[in-house]
C-alpha cells in the first residue's frame, strides 16, 4: 500500500486545514463574509469526517498497515491509531460544525479558526499514531499550539485570554517535563523509538534511577494533557474561558490524543518492565484515577457555570478512563478496548453537551450559568431533551453510550481484579448524578427568576445538526454498541 494511502487520514486532516486556509485567503470577499465562513465550517467538517471515514476505510487492511522503510517506523498505521484518528476526526468535525453556528452568532468569525482546528486534529492523530517519542511530541505540540490559539480566540474577552494564557503557560511547562522525560529515556535507550525504549527498559536500564525519573516526568506531562489530578488545575479555567466549541474540542480531541499517547507510552514503553509492576506506574495511575474521579465530581457539584461544571466533569471522566487504563495494564484486551470505547462515547456525549450549551446562547446572552437554563424545557423542548439526554449519558445511565462505556470499563477492571477501584468509581458516578441532573432539574422543573428571560437558542442549523448527530450516536452506542465494541477490541498496536 502506498504510504499516501496509509497515511491518508492524517493527510486528509492536513489537507483540510490547507484548503480551509486557502479558501479563507483566496475566496473570501469582504462582501460575503458570512457565506464563506459557513462554507469554511462545512469544508472543515466534511474534511475531518472524511478523514475519519478514511481511517475506518483502512480498518480492513489488517491489524497494521505496512509502511515503507523510509518512514523509519516513527509512525504506525495500526488499528489502535486508526480508531483514535477516527474518533479525533469525528470530534474535530463536530466541533467545527458547532463553531459554524457559534462564531457567527458571537461575531468572532475569523477564518483562521478552521485551519487551526484541522491542524490540531492532525497533530492529535499524529500523536495517536506515533511510535517514536519525538514524533509523538511533535504531534502534541502541533495539536497544542493550535488549541492555545483557539482558546484565546475571543481576543476581546478577558476570560478567554486568561484561559488561553494559563493553558499556554502550564501546557508549555508540562511539555517541558514531557520532553525532559523523553530526553532521559533517550539517555537510557539511545533511541526515541518506543519499541526500542521498551526493549532497553526490560534490561538493566529498567532499574536505573534515570528510568524512574523519566517515568515521573512523562506521567507529569501526559497527566497534564488528560487533566488528571493533581495536574488538572488549568482545566476549569481554560474550559470556562475558551469559546464553547473550542472547549468541546479540547475536552474530547485533546484528551483522546493524550490518552492514546499515555497508553502507548505506559503500556508499550513501560509495559513488562519493572516500572510497570504494581508498585510502578500502575499505583500512580490508580492514584490519578481515584483522585481525578473524586476531586472532579466533588468540586463539580459546586459549579454554577455549566462549562466549568463540565470541565470538572471531564476531570472525573479522565479518572474513569484511567480505571480502564489500569485494566488494560492487567493484560486483558477488554481493558484497552474499554478505554477506546469510553473515549469515543465521551467524545459524542460531551460534544453533544457542549453543542447544546452553545446552542442556548445568543450574542451577548450566552447561557453558561445553570440558572440560565431555568424553564428552557418548556420553551424549547427538543433542545432541552437533547441536553438532558447528554446529561443522562454523562451520568452513565442506560440506554446511552455513557452507560455502556462505563459498564465495559468497569467490567474489564473487575476482570482484572480491580474491584476496589470500581467501587470508588460507581460511588463517584452516584455523586455525579447530582450535578448532571441538577441541570435537568433546572431545565425541567424550575422557572426562571421573575423578570429573567428564558435562554433563547440560536437559529443555527449547523449546531442543530451536530446535536442530532451526537444524540443519535449516544443512543446508538448505548443500545447497539456491538459493532464499535468489536472494533475497539480489534484495535491493537
Amino acid at each position: 500500500m502506498s504510504v499516501w494511502l496509509a497515511l491518508s487520514p492524517l493527510l486528509a486532516m492536513v489537507a483540510t486545514g490547507l484548503v480551509a486556509m486557502l479558501v479563507d485567503v483566496l475566496v473570501r470577499s469582504p462582501a460575503s463574509d458570512a457565506d464563506t465562513r459557513g462554507d469554511l465550517a462545512i469544508i472543515t467538517t466534511v474534511g475531518l469526517f472524511a478523514s475519519a471515514a478514511l481511517a475506518l476505510g483502512l480498518w480492513g487492511s489488517g491489524p497494521s498497515v505496512a509502511l515503507p522503510e523510509s518512514l523509519g517506523g516513527v509512525v504506525a498505521v495500526d488499528r489502535f491509531g486508526l480508531f483514535f484518528a477516527a474518533t479525533i476526526g469525528l470530534g474535530g468535525g463536530l466541533s467545527a460544525l458547532i463553531a459554524g453556528g457559534y462564531l457567527a452568532e458571537h461575531g468572532i468569525e475569523r477564518g483562521e479558526y478552521y485551519p487551526l482546528i484541522a491542524f490540531s486534529c492532525a497533530g492529535a492523530a499524529l500523536m495517536a499514531m506515533a511510535t517514536d517519542l519525538l514524533v509523538l511530541f511533535v504531534g502534541l505540540e502541533t495539536m497544542s499550539l493550535a488549541v492555545y490559539c483557539l482558546a484565546g480566540f475571543r481576543r476581546g474577552s478577558r476570560k478567554s485570554l486568561e484561559g488561553a494564557l494559563k493553558y499556554f503557560l502550564l501546557g508549555s511547562f508540562a511539555a517541558a517535563f514531557l520532553l525532559f522525560g523523553i530526553a532521559l529515556l533517550y539517555v537510557l535507550a539511545a533511541s526515541t523509538r518506543i519499541a526500542e525504549i521498551s526493549e532497553a527498559l526490560r534490561g538493566a536500564a529498567g532499574s536505573s534511577p534515570i528510568a524512574v525519573l523519566a517515568l515521573v516526568l512523562l506521567l507529569t506531562g501526559l497527566g497534564f494533557k488528560i487533566s488528571a489530578v493533581p495536574f488538572h488545575m488549568w482545566t476549569p479555567d481554560a474550559y470556562e474561558g475558551a469559546p464553547t466549541p473550542v472547549t468541546a474540542f479540547m475536552s474530547v480531541v485533546v484528551k483522546a490524543a493524550a490518552f492514546a499517547a499515555l497508553l502507548r507510552v505506559l503500556l508499550v514503553a513501560f509495559g513488562g518492565t519493572a516500572l510497570g509492576a504494581s508498585v510502578g506506574w500502575p499505583q500512580i495511575v490508580a492514584f490519578f484515577a481515584v483522585a481525578s474521579m473524586s476531586v472532579g465530581n466533588l468540586v463539580a457539584i459546586w459549579q454554577k457555570n455549566v462549562k466549568r461544571m463540565l470541565a470538572y466533569s471531564s476531570i472525573a471522566h479522565a479518572g474513569y478512563v484511567l480505571v480502564g487504563v489500569l485494566a488494560a495494564w492487567k493484560g486483558a484486551p477488554e481493558g484497552r478496548a474499554g478505554v477506546l470505547f469510553y473515549l469515543l462515547s465521551y467524545t459524542v456525549m460531551n460534544i453533544g453537551a457542549f453543542a447544546c450549551v452553545a446552542y442556548f446562547g445568543r450574542r451577548d446572552a450566552e447561557a453558561v450559568h445553570t440558572s440560565d437554563f431555568a424553564g428552557v424545557a418548556r420553551q424549547h423542548p427538543a433542545a432541552a431533551l437533547a441536553l438532558a439526554t447528554f446529561m443522562v449519558a454523562l451520568t452513565g445511565m442506560p440506554p446511552t453510550a455513557g452507560f455502556f462505556a462505563k459498564l465495559y470499563v468497569f467490567r474489564s477492571a473487575i476482570d482484572a481484579g480491580l474491584w476496589p477501584l470500581v467501587v470508588v468509581a460507581v460511588l463517584n458516578s452516584a455523586v455525579s448524578a447530582y450535578y448532571y441532573l441538577n441541570l435537568v432539574v433546572t431545565m425541567y422543573m424550575r422557572s426562571p427568576e421573575p423578570g429573567a428571560p428564558v435562554a433563547q437558542p440560536m437559529r443555527s442549523g449547523a449546531i442543530a445538526t451536530a446535536i442530532v448527530i451526537c444524540a443519535l450516536l449516544v443512543l446508538h452506542l448505548g443500545i447497539w454498541p456491538s459493532r464499535l465494541l468489536s472494533m475497539a477490541l480489534e484495535a491493537g498496536w
Binding site: P381, P398, P399, Y408, V441, S482, L485
Partner: protein, 539 residues
C-alpha cells in the same frame, strides 16, 4: 397466541411514547386518548399471558436474541407465574393512572404522557428481563420518567423529593451494577464464556463470603426500592410530592421492583448469603412494619400516612421473602399484588379529595362520609383491604406470609417471635388506617369548605372500580392467582434451599451441573435442628 408477545408488551408502550413525541402539542384531547389507547392495548396484550400459564414451573414465552456477543449480553425475556402477575398489575395500573390524571395534568401534557408510557415500558421490561444487563437497563430506565413525573408535575417540594428519589435509588443501583459485573466476571472465569443471562448465572455457585458482598450490593439496591427500613425516607417525600398518578404507579408497581428483585435475583443468585443475612433483613423488615405503622399513625398528611403504610406493608413482603418458605414467598408475591391494588387505590382516593380541596392534611377534612357517601364507602373497602380484613386480598397474603415466617425454622432462629412481632403490624395497621378514616370521614363536618364537596364522578369511579373488584376477587377467590404463583415460587425456594446446601462449604466458585439441584434429595436442612414441637424435627 401472539408471536413475540413479551417483546410486544415492552415495545407497544415504548413505541407509543415515541409516537407521542411526534404528535402536535396543540391537541391535548387527542394526546390523552392516544396514550390511553396505547396503555389499554398493552393491557389487552398482557391478558394473553394468562392462557397456558398453569402447569409447569419455569419461564414461558422466552425470547432470546444475541445483543452484545462479546460480553454474552442477550435480549432475553421470559415470564413465569410470578412476573406474569406483576406485569398484569403494571398494565392495569397504567391506564388507571392515566385516567386519574385526565384532568389534573394540564401543563406539558405531551411530556407527561411520554414519561408515563416510557415508564410503563421500562416497568414491564424490568419484570420480564432474564438477562441481568437487560434488567439493569430497564431498572435504570424506570428512574428517569418517574423522576420527571415527580419533579415536573409534583407538589411544592417536588424538586427536593425528585432529587432525593433519584439519588437514593441511583446510589443503590450503581453498587448493584458493580456486583452484577463482578458476578458475570466470576461466571466468565468459571464457565469460560461470558454471559449475563439469568439462567446461566443461577447455575453459578459462589463461596459464601463472596456471596455476602454481592448480596449486600444487590440487597442495597432492592432494599432502597422496596423501601426497607431504614432506607425508606425517600418514599414519603416522593409520594407526597408526586402527582396522584405518579403516587399510584410508585406504590402499585415501582416498590414491587425491589421485592421482585429480591425474589428473582438476590436470593436465587446468592442463596447462602440470603440465608445468613435472612434474620438481619427480616429484623429490619419487622422494624419497618412496626415503625412504619407507628409513624403512619401520627402523620397529619394523608398521603404521607399512606406512604408510611407502604413501608409497613412492604415490610411484610420482605419478611415473607426472608422466611424462604414456599408459603412465605407465595404470600409475599400475593401481598405485592394486594398492596399494589390497595395502596394504588388509596392514593387515587386521596387524590380525589386533593383535586377538590388541594390539601392533603387530614385535619382539613372530617365528617365527609355524610357528604361523599360513595367515596366513603369505596374508601372503606380499600382501607379494609389495606388492613387485611378476611375476604379482601390482604388477608390471604398476610396469612401466608405470617404462616410462612412462622414455619421457617431454617431461616431464623426465632421465626415465631418474628411472626408475632410482625403480627403486631396487623394490629397497628388497623390503628392507623381506622384513625385516618375516622379523622377524615367521621365526626361532625367542621370545615365549611367540605360541605360542598361533590361525590365521586364517573371518571373517578371508573378508575376505582377495577381495583375494588380486584380487592374482592383476590380475597374471595385467589386460587387461580396463587396456583400460578406457587408453581414458580415453590420451585424457586426449593432451588434456593438446594443451592444453600451445595454452596455452604464452597471455597471456590463452580458451576452447577445439569440436574444437580434436583439430585440433592431431601429438603430438610439437617444442620439446624428443628425445635421440638415442629413436625418433622425434635423429639
Amino acid at each position: 397466541m401472539i408471536p413475540h408477545l413479551l417483546t410486544a408488551l415492552i415495545a407497544v408502550p415504548a413505541l407509543g411514547a415515541i409516537a407521542i413525541l411526534f404528535c402536535p402539542r396543540q391537541t391535548p384531547r387527542f394526546l390523552r386518548y392516544f396514550a390511553m389507547a396505547v396503555s389499554l392495548a398493552t393491557f389487552g396484550l398482557s391478558l394473553y399471558l394468562l392462557p397456558g400459564s398453569l402447569g409447569r414451573a419455569g419461564f414461558r414465552l422466552e425470547e432470546t436474541v444475541s445483543w452484545i456477543p462479546s460480553l454474552g449480553i442477550r435480549y432475553h425475556v421470559g415470564v413465569d407465574g410470578i412476573s406474569m402477575w406483576l406485569v398484569l398489575l403494571t398494565t392495569l395500573t397504567t391506564p388507571i393512572a392515566l385516567l386519574a390524571s385526565w384532568e389534573s395534568i394540564q401543563s406539558r401534557l405531551k411530556e407527561y404522557l411520554f414519561s408515563f408510557l416510557l415508564l410503563e415500558s421500562a416497568m414491564i421490561g424490568t419484570f420480564l428481563a432474564l438477562d441481568l444487563f437487560l434488567f439493569y437497563v430497564f431498572w435504570e430506565l424506570m428512574l428517569i420518567p418517574m423522576y420527571l413525573i415527580i419533579g415536573v408535575w409534583g407538589g411544592g417540594r417536588r424538586i427536593y423529593a425528585a432529587v432525593k428519589f433519584f439519588l437514593y435509588t441511583m446510589a443503590g443501583s450503581l453498587l448493584m451494577l458493580a456486583a452484577i459485573l463482578y458476578l458475570t466476571s466470576q461466571y466468565d472465569t468459571v464457565a469460560g464464556k461470558a454471559s449475563f443471562d439469568y439462567l446461566d448465572l443461577t447455575r453459578l455457585l459462589l463461596p459464601p463470603d463472596t456471596q455476602l458482598w454481592l448480596y449486600l450490593a444487590f440487597a442495597l439496591a432492592f432494599a432502597i426500592k422496596v423501601p426497607m427500613w431504614p432506607l425508606h425516607t425517600w418514599l414519603p417525600d416522593a409520594h407526597v410530592e408526586a402527582p396522584t398518578a405518579g403516587s399510584v404507579i410508585l406504590a402499585a408497581v415501582l416498590l414491587k421492583m425491589g421485592t421482585y428483585g429480591f425474589l428473582r435475583f438476590a436470593i436465587p443468585l446468592f442463596p447462602n448469603a440470603a440465608h445468613t443475612l435472612g434474620p438481619t433483613i427480616g429484623g429490619l423488615a419487622i422494624a419497618g412494619i412496626i415503625l412504619g405503622a407507628l409513624v403512619a399513625w401520627r402523620q397529619p398528611d394523608a398521603k404521607k400516612l399512606v406512604a408510611y403504610s407502604s413501608v409497613s406493608h412492604m415490610g411484610f413482603v420482605m419478611l415473607g421473602l426472608m422466611a424462604m418458605t414456599t408459603a412465605g414467598a407465595v404470600g409475599a408475591v400475593l401481598q405485592m399484588l394486594n398492596h399494589g391494588v390497595a395502596t394504588g387505590a388509596l392514593f387515587l382516593l386521596v387524590g380525589v379529595v386533593y383535586d377538590r380541596r388541594h390539601t392533603r392534611l387530614i385535619e382539613e377534612y372530617g365528617g365527609i362520609a355524610k357528604i361523599m357517601p360513595a367515596y366513603a364507602a369505596v374508601f372503606a373497602v380499600i382501607m379494609l383491604a389495606s388492613i387485611g380484613l378476611p375476604g379482601t386480598g390482604g388477608f390471604v397474603g398476610e396469612l401466608m406470609i405470617l404462616l410462612g415466617t412462622f414455619s421457617a425454622w431454617r431461616a431464623f432462629e426465632m421465626p415465631r417471635l418474628f411472626a408475632l412481632l410482625a403480627g403486631t403490624g396487623v394490629i397497628l395497621g388497623a390503628v392507623y388506617m381506622l384513625s385516618l378514616y375516622r379523622r377524615m370521614f367521621f365526626g361532625p363536618v367542621r370545615n365549611e369548605a367540605n360541605r360542598t364537596l361533590g361525590d365521586l364522578v364517573g371518571r373517578e369511579a371508573i378508575c376505582l372500580a377495577p381495583l375494588v373488584a380486584l380487592v374482592f376477587v383476590m380475597g374471595l377467590y385467589p386460587r387461580p392467582v396463587i396456583a400460578r404463583i406457587e408453581q414458580d415460587a415453590r420451585q424457586t425456594i426449593e432451588d434456593v434451599r438446594a443451592k444453600q446446601r451445595l454452596g455452604r462449604d464452597l471455597t471456590e466458585a463452580r458451576l452447577l451441573e445439569p440436574g444437580e439441584l434436583s439430585r440433592t434429595g431431601e429438603s430438610i436442612d439437617l444442620e439446624v435442628p428443628a425445635p421440638p414441637g415442629v413436625p418433622g424435627g425434635g423429639q
